[in-house]
């Protein structure tokens, strides 16, 4: 693929602050590239270097192979259109007049438009669904409408590449989706190259072919969304804990921030061991973590939904092979984790012969005098023909605290001094 815009060994800085050093980067023909990164990582600076508003201290910016420094503003505007995140217009221009301003480079000496100019303007407005706004004053429009008008103006330039600087950051979700859908449509229709600065990692992952992640003026990584938007990368670049899983519909990576869970590891005041399985633990784990309590889990079968949550959150776990009964080894690991915990919680479980070991471990803990909280079990979850019921009886006899729901459990947990 040929490059439309290429940065070759670019150095750039503002007075007293260096931004880029030896930056190399190319925007390829026909791609939708998402530019992501935290505030002050250099996203907007990179965009302004690409359209020649800023000039590199060293190195070159090439537009279709030509040094952009040598090109006039009007020849740059024939190739590159920019959609800003917002614009203020001091006078009452109509939406149609604003879009016509995109034709500025094509107008003659005294600046009068021809029939063809209005054709291009109306075509752009139709594509962005703003034709009916043509005679409305621009400043009267809603943010979403303004943004679509600015996109239409960019199209009126008939550019080869559109650079979008957070085009949807002021918009409601429905307008965000609509703008991104339009851009994808235009990309497919006209082979328009698009660079999109985005704060929304999910939208970027969904709508971009390639993602470039910037961190403190360096390209941290670039590639298909699934390779760039990962838990490790986001932790390194943004400094937060997130969970990344594929969007069930599109397959694009989907990011869920978990900033509080991220704090737990360093500040936890107490440790709670949760015996769970089959998804029974997820709600309780989340609520414990949000109270800055360190959590360990056991014994879980690999692949179990509680196991996946524990793995994502990086919790200490005792694990067993899928669909296998609890082995002595896993039982011992579980006991070891329990020994390190301030208290032990037995979640409501489906009990079969395979995981009776979990109940046995809880009973042993009670008999050792450990504090054990037990969620009242439901007889319908007993698949052992009564054996589980016996264990529960022994827990009750041994002095375990029985709770009816998670709220009661949490009250008990918070009552424990650290």
């Amino acid at each position: 693929m040929p490059s439309i815009i290429e940065l070759a060994s670019v150095d750039f800085g503002y007075p007293g602050r260096k931004i880029f050093s030896q930056l190399n980067f190319a925007l390829e023909k026909g791609e939708i590239l998402g530019l992501i990164g935290p505030n002050s990582s250099g996203k907007t600076t990179l965009l302004k270097l690409m359209d020649g508003l800023l000039v590199p201290d060293r190195g070159r910016v090439l537009l279709l192979g030509e040094d952009i420094k040598r090109l006039s503003r009007s020849s740059i505007a024939r190739k590159i259109a920019v959609v800003p995140s917002g614009v203020e217009v001091p006078f009452a221009f109509t939406a149609g007049e604003i879009v016509l301003m995109g034709r500025g480079i094509f107008l003659g000496r005294f600046g009068w438009e021809k029939k063809r100019d209005w054709e291009v303007v109306r075509e752009g407005m139709a594509l962005t669904n703003v034709l009916e706004l043509e005679n409305r004053p621009f400043w009267e429009l809603s943010q979403g409408e303004k943004q679509r008008v600015l996109l239409a103006r960019a199209l009126a330039q008939e550019p080869e590449v559109i650079l979008l600087d957070e085009p949807t950051s002021h918009l409601d979700l429905n307008h965000q989706i609509e703008i991104h859908e339009r851009i994808r449509h235009l990309n497919a229709l006209r082979n328009l190259t698009v660079l999109n600065i985005s704060h929304d990692l999910n939208l970027a992952a969904e709508y971009c072919h390639r993602i470039l992640m910037l961190s403190q003026g360096e390209i941290f990584c670039s590639g298909p969304p699934a390779q760039v938007i990962t838990e490790d990368h986001i932790r390194s670049v943004y400094g937060i804990e997130v969970m990344v899983e594929p969007n069930p519909i599109s397959g694009a990576p989907r990011v869920t921030p978990m900033s509080r869970a991220g704090l737990v590891r360093s500040q936890a005041s107490q440790t709670v061991h949760v015996i769970c399985g089959g998804g029974s633990g997820s709600d309780l784990i989340r609520r414990l973590l949000s109270r800055k309590i360190r959590v360990s889990l056991g014994v879980l079968n690999v692949g179990d939904s509680d196991y996946l949550i524990g793995k994502t959150l990086g919790l200490a776990m005792a694990a067993e092979a899928p669909f296998s009964p609890i082995s002595e080894k896993a039982f011992a690991e579980n006991k070891a984790l329990m020994a390190r915990a301030d208290l032990i919680i037995l979640e409501r479980l489906y009990v079969g012969r395979g995981n009776l070991g979990n109940l046995k471990a809880a009973v042993e803990a009670v008999q050792e005098g450990r504090r054990v909280l037990v969620l009242e079990s439901d007889p319908s979850q007993d698949y052992t023909g009564g054996e589980a019921r016996e264990y529960y009886q022994r827990l009750r006899d041994g002095g375990a605290t029985f709770c009816i729901d998670h709220s009661q459990i949490l009250k008990e947990v918070e009552g424990v001094p650290s």
Binding site: V82, V87, G111, Q157
Partner: protein
């Protein structure tokens, strides 16, 4: 001229007074009158000529005060203009306070603006500058439209902003200098005419500029006729008429249509 400056400076209050062009021209004229250059064979050329030269010098002064690192930020230019303007006004007032003879009358009348001194032999010279300046500014009308969106946007839409600004300031000064040299300071026309036209015709400079030129001329001729006839044989300074009639009309337009034009 207000129309051009309002676009260039993205500021609805801009007019030749704000940038110091008018004050510069006035200082030039006042100096010429006080140092007796008004008499003799070349007299009718000397006062306008000095005013014209002073207007040009002023815009270059303001431009270079505001210039930093190859660029001229508009806010800085505006501030520089206001400061230079106040400075020149102070000097003019000082000169007036030191003057007591019949020259004072010439100076005051000139400062208030009048078409009285518009000697016919200067008309050709003034017209030439107006024609050249107006044609140039009209050819930049579409760029002025783009500049109202901000300099960065104008650059992105293909305008060579620094060049347009530089040349437009020069041509604006040429025109202002030429006019002021003939008529003195006639307040208010440059400010309210473009605003009024904009409220009636909309902000497109391709209409706004020629319409303002015509409307301004018509307004001034009407005001001058009033000035000569109202208290005849006495003549009221035309600047008084423009301000007294213009201000209420402008307020009326602003109240009625302003909300749809500015926000």
């Amino acid at each position: 001229m207000g129309g051009v400056l309002q676009a260039l400076l993205r500021n609805p209050l801009a007019d030749p007074f704000v940038l110091g062009i008018s004050s510069g021209a006035a200082l030039g004229a006042v100096l010429a009158i006080l140092f007796g250059l008004g008499g003799g064979l070349l007299g009718s050329y000397m006062v306008p000529g000095t005013a014209f030269a002073a207007a040009l010098l002023t815009i270059f002064l303001v431009y270079f005060i505001a210039r930093t690192g190859g660029r001229v930020p508009l806010q800085t230019m505006l501030l520089a203009g206001v400061i230079v303007s106040s400075f020149f006004s102070a000097i003019i007032m000082f000169l007036i306070s030191m003057t007591s003879d019949e020259r004072l009358h010439s100076v005051t009348f000139w400062l208030m603006g009048s078409l009285e001194y518009m000697a016919s032999q200067n008309m050709g010279f003034i017209f030439l500058f107006l024609l050249v300046g107006a044609l140039f500014l009209l050819s930049r009308a579409k760029d002025f439209n783009l500049l109202t969106l901000g300099e960065e946007t104008a650059l992105e839409l293909g305008v060579d902003v620094e060049r347009v600004k530089m040349t437009s300031f020069v041509f604006t000064s040429l025109i202002t200098g030429a006019i002021v040299s003939g008529s003195g300071l006639i307040a208010f026309v440059g400010l309210i005419v473009p605003h009024t036209v904009r409220m009636i015709w909309g902000p497109d400079h391709r209409f706004l500029l020629p319409a303002s030129m015509l409307a301004g001329a018509m307004f001034l001729i009407a005001a001058d006729t009033l000035a000569r006839t109202l208290l005849a044989p006495l003549e009221i300074p035309v600047g008084v008429i423009t301000a007294i009639t213009g201000a209420p009309f402008f307020i009326y337009i602003l109240r009625k249509k302003g909300h749809a034009v500015y926000h």
